[in-house]
């Protein structure tokens, strides 16, 4: 059996004295899909930030067996510059991730997520759904091994949801490891190999 790509043991996160995540343990094998559910405030986003390398645990251990820059992260925020265009944002991230054949990859993602026509528009003029699509392009730009998605279905219209479901299926078929926090586990049930239901700490 392959070594887990993510292994968490007794994971805790506190902000000051306030615990937001308490005693979380799990293992996720390469190519698996972990679905994280729980009520608002249960620590889903915090857990994903820990896995994404954006925060350090207050207690417990978290092993991620892939390079930090081979993680693709979609958070609540789109992690883009609102006064840059979609093309400029993705070009900046493509340079930082050193994406080979950057322009072709960016063009392909923008086409796939239906943003090609709006590629020269500033993000400040995008709708929430378009911004979420761009955030997905950014998260997947560097073809990450571990894809961490926090509420990826939020703000998407029916066409966007269909595109996302197809993309998740493609990623799973390509052997990518997925961690998805969602309030709608039914949408990713067919992909899930593991499930954590968090409770408020």
């Amino acid at each position: 059996m392959a070594e887990p790509i993510v292994r968490a043991a007794g994971l805790e996160k506190r902000y000051g004295l306030r615990p937001v995540l308490r005693d979380v343990s799990f293992e996720l094998e390469p190519g698996g899909a972990l679905v994280v559910t729980g009520p608002n405030g249960a620590g889903k986003s915090t857990l994903l930030r820990l896995i994404g390398g954006l925060a350090a645990p207050s207690r417990g251990s978290l092993e991620i067996r892939t390079e930090r820059r081979k993680v693709g992260f979609l958070g609540h925020e789109p992690l883009v510059y609102r006064e840059l265009t979609a093309l400029e944002n993705l070009d900046l991230y493509g340079r930082l991730y050193r994406v080979p054949e950057r322009r072709e990859r960016i063009g392909m993602l923008l086409e796939r997520f239906g943003l090609w026509e709006a590629r020269h528009q500033r993000i400040s003029s995008y709708s929430r759904g378009m911004t979420q699509r761009l955030a997905l392009c950014r998260a997947l730009l560097h073809e990450p091994d571990l894809v961490v998605l926090d509420e990826p279905h939020s703000s998407l219209d029916d066409e966007g949801l269909t595109l996302l479901d197809a993309e998740l299926g493609t990623l799973a078929a390509a052997g990518k490891t997925l961690v998805v926090a969602t309030h709608d586990p039914g949408r990713v049930a067919s992909l899930a190999t593991a499930h954590i239901d968090l409770e408020r700490a």
Binding site: L54, A55, V80, Y81, R82, E83, R95, L96, R98
Partner: protein, 213 residues
């Protein structure tokens, strides 16, 4: 090393592009420094020494820099872009260096406006004084980009930034004023160069811890 410098250049270029587009920072800095010099011109009593005027120049420059630093990380905090950069850069110090270089470009541009205005209202600056301004600007942007990143992540950023930055800027004011009025400015310029080197290395090494929760 080439890849690291490529990251720094891409990040600094992004800040310049954002400023050219939004014009949020540079016009505010230029207007502020000129307005401050005008106020000082009328506030300084007739017959006051030139030394006092040089001191006021440094007050104006430090507070102009503070204005720019207060806005430096605004684009990163608007849509979580700092998290995106933290994930994407192979060495997170490139984020600090890119920001420091962009802030330096804005501060130097404001000084291009401020120094002729100072010469008009008070007295021209000689070579050592100009070199002092350049060296102090490097130090201001090196340490300022670090502490403004710390302040940007905090709740009371408007209060926290001056509290963190101004004590660290005092040596730069001392060196800057010394290089402007001393008959032997060499020691002050060397002091400014040493400050720049020490604080640039400290800021470069510390930035990783500033951007990780």
């Amino acid at each position: 090393m080439t890849a690291y410098l490529g990251d720094v250049a891409a990040l600094a270029r992004k800040d310049l592009r954002l400023e050219l587009r939004a014009r949020d920072t540079l016009p505010a800095m230029a207007l502020f420094v000129v307005a401050t010099l005008v106020v000082f011109h009328f506030a300084l009593p007739a017959g006051a020494s030139e030394d006092a005027a040089y001191g006021l120049l440094w007050v104006a420059l430090v507070f102009t820099a503070l204005l720019g630093l207060g806005r430096a990380w605004t684009p990163e905090s608007e849509a979580g872009a700092l998290d995106g950069l933290v994930l994407a850069t192979s060495d997170r110090s490139a984020i600090w260096l890119g920001k420091a270089l962009a802030t330096l470009a804005f501060l130097l541009a404001a000084e291009v406006v401020a120094l002729p205005a100072f010469a008009l209202f008070f007295a021209p600056l000689d070579g050592p004084a100009l070199l002092g301004v350049l060296l102090a600007s490097v130090g201001i942007c090196a340490v300022g980009s670090l502490v403004s990143a710390m302040a940007a992540a905090a709740r009371g950023r408007e209060v926290l930034l001056p509290l963190l930055f101004l004590p660290l800027a005092i040596p730069l004011v001392v060196g800057g004023v010394g290089s402007s009025i001393s008959p032997e400015p060499g020691a002050y310029l060397a002091f400014l160069g040493l400050y720049d080197a020490v604080f640039a290395i400290l800021s470069w090494a510390a930035f990783e811890y500033v951007v990780t929760e």
